[in-house]
Symmetry: none
Subunit: 207 residues, 4 copies
DNA sequence: GATGAATGAGTGTTCATTCAT
DNA sequence: AATGAATGAACACTCATTCAT
């Protein structure tokens, strides 16, 4: 789907507002005002408010695909591949935090059923990527057998989302004064913590 | 605060609807209809829709306090204490999933600022409990030093929430056909997976 | 009609509120809160909000009757009798300003038709009092013939009410800083001005 | 401010209803019904019910300015100038009776504080006009010195308003059967009475 | 005699959407 | 292709009053 400049601006404004105030908490007038367009434009361009939401999702997910396909072929130890993926995941989720916020709010909404198929597809691809790298590691004897690969994402993404959800708490606990401090903590400490956790899980022999 | 039977029914109905459709997506008329009361009762009992939300939070959090204070004294290995906490956490979050859903949606809402102090307090207490048990384990030489205790909760709760958020995906991946299957998977597989992950993190020596 | 202490307090509170915020602008809850009684009491004691208004009117008018009947017999010049009446009028209207405010707002209200018969009766009696004194003055040759006695009240009461209506303007024009200043201006300057005006009208021979 | 035809119709309908039933006694639905428009139009056009009131006031006052500025220069005796002003005042107040009714009800309302500045300005201008003509008359020796010019308006407008307030009483006293009779009485008898009163006050030498 | 609980009707306002242009 | 005007439906909330106790 092709969007013109005005449409893209609407998408961006709406994405931020939907993330900040929820879908139902955002009015089309609000969007129109900030995007500096006529209210009627939203219905005109996207059909309805709900279809605008879908357009946002499509638009964002389209640019979210993992660029890690050839990571498998690289000649580095599997654990480093895993670490690279984790880093990239966190970077991506963080960068697209708004749409993640929206999706995770809407996914459990019983009223609306936005098409999350592409999103699910994405996750399944990520799962497959993990799977093949874990298998590589297992073949090389680096990783333990009996790893439930599908449950790696919850640890990685779940931790990050929970960290974001409780921003205030962690700002307080770790004395993060600025937005930059917070972002840096995620980029460094949290990322390393998650990498360490996954590594432990993969390598540690449970007795 | 004491609530009578009708008030409690309203709280329950509203809690479910807020979780399922969001706060802004739920109208007081909807609540009134399902709770089989007059619309005016909500304002009459709780003051406003927003205060109803606060009442729900207060009501739920009041009954959510950890009953694990004396766990520290028990004469079992620290890792088993950790496992017990994880099990109890997952049980609690799962049991109070609705309010967690609401809170985590509302926490990041820039429009409303519901009083999450008690909720934060709860989390801080949980953190302290973890801290003292980890210290026990470290003294006994069971656990590694340099454990970032504050980042244990994100792994545990984050994983669970993410699992719930992607219910459909995991039902598909693990062939969970009924609600019971899903619940059982959380209670057994997911719980064990998280326990295993935390154990690995605590015990595994990073080289 | 007899009212007990609580009823009288309600009447007083309601009178002030009706005067300050209008009948429709005052809620029974507001009255109940200030009078420190249960909301239901108003319906219980007076039947309805509208009947409360009627009760206020009845209660006040009952105590408003002129005590000037024997003024006619007094052995003083008619113009002094007129001056005494003017002074007494202004005193009365000022003292019962609240009920005058209410009545003059409600009199022109097409929705409600409160019983203003007693009020009208009062005015007619005042008119008759004026009439007999003016006749005395005319007989004595003090006053001009052809005085439209019925139009004396509009000048006296009308001036006072207009002065009150434009309180802010006159406080500004005459530099009246306190409530006392304002009251004193009415008691002295305005009263004398009105007396002078009526005197001029009665005595001055129009050529 | 420019209003289109439909807006003007709303203003007119609302003006009448506000005058007849009070601001709080009139619902926007009532206005919408009579003006044959959608309820939402009132908020859409004017922002709110309260702003509608302000619009009415502005709209009316805008067309109420005195066209008597050049009266001062005319070559007629001052007392005739005064009589012309009185006549014009009564004509104006009578013509704009609704808005006067509203304003004088709302001016003393402690809840709302509509912008009456323009209205006050108007009154101050009228006061200045009176002042200069009275001074003319005093210079020519026609009028007495020591005239409190600011208290002339209360006599003129106050009398008229009081007459209107007690419409029923005066219809009864003067046997005015039709609306026309009433209007004519104001135009002739009452106007002359007020003119005579003011004349007496200005010319009569108080001994 | 007095009142807390409860309610149906009504309040002003905002909503997403449509339509004529 | 784009938009200002307009609207019916829905919104949260308040109203005066009733009723069981």
């Amino acid at each position: 789907m092709e969007f013109n400049d005005k449409q893209i601006e609407i998408l961006q404004v709406a994405e931020q507002l939907f993330a900040e105030e929820g879908f139902d908490g955002t009015s089309v007038r609000e969007i129109a005002k900030i995007a500096n367009i006529n209210v009627a434009m939203i219905s005109y361009y996207f059909g309805s408010k709900e279809k605008l939401l879908e357009a946002i999702v499509m638009h964002r997910i389209g640019s979210m695909g993992l660029k890690l396909e050839n990571l498998i072929q690289e000649n580095i130890p599997p654990i480093e591949k895993i670490n690279k993926i984790i880093e990239y995941y966190i970077y991506q989720v963080n960068r697209n935090r708004h749409i993640h916020q929206i999706l995770h709010n809407e996914i459990s909404n019983k009223k609306r059923h936005i098409n999350t198929e592409t999103f699910t597809e994405l996750k399944k691809n990520n799962f497959k990527l993990f799977e093949s790298i874990v298998k590589q590691g297992q073949k090389l004897g680096h990783f333990q057998p009996n790893i439930n690969v599908a449950l790696l994402s919850p640890i990685i993404i779940g931790s990050l989302l929970y960290f974001h959800m409780n921003k205030k708490l962690y700002e307080d606990l770790f004395d993060l004064k600025t937005e930059e401090d917070f972002e840096n903590y995620i980029k460094n400490e949290l990322t390393q913590h998650i990498q360490k956790t996954i590594k432990a899980l993969l390598i540690y022999e449970d007795k």
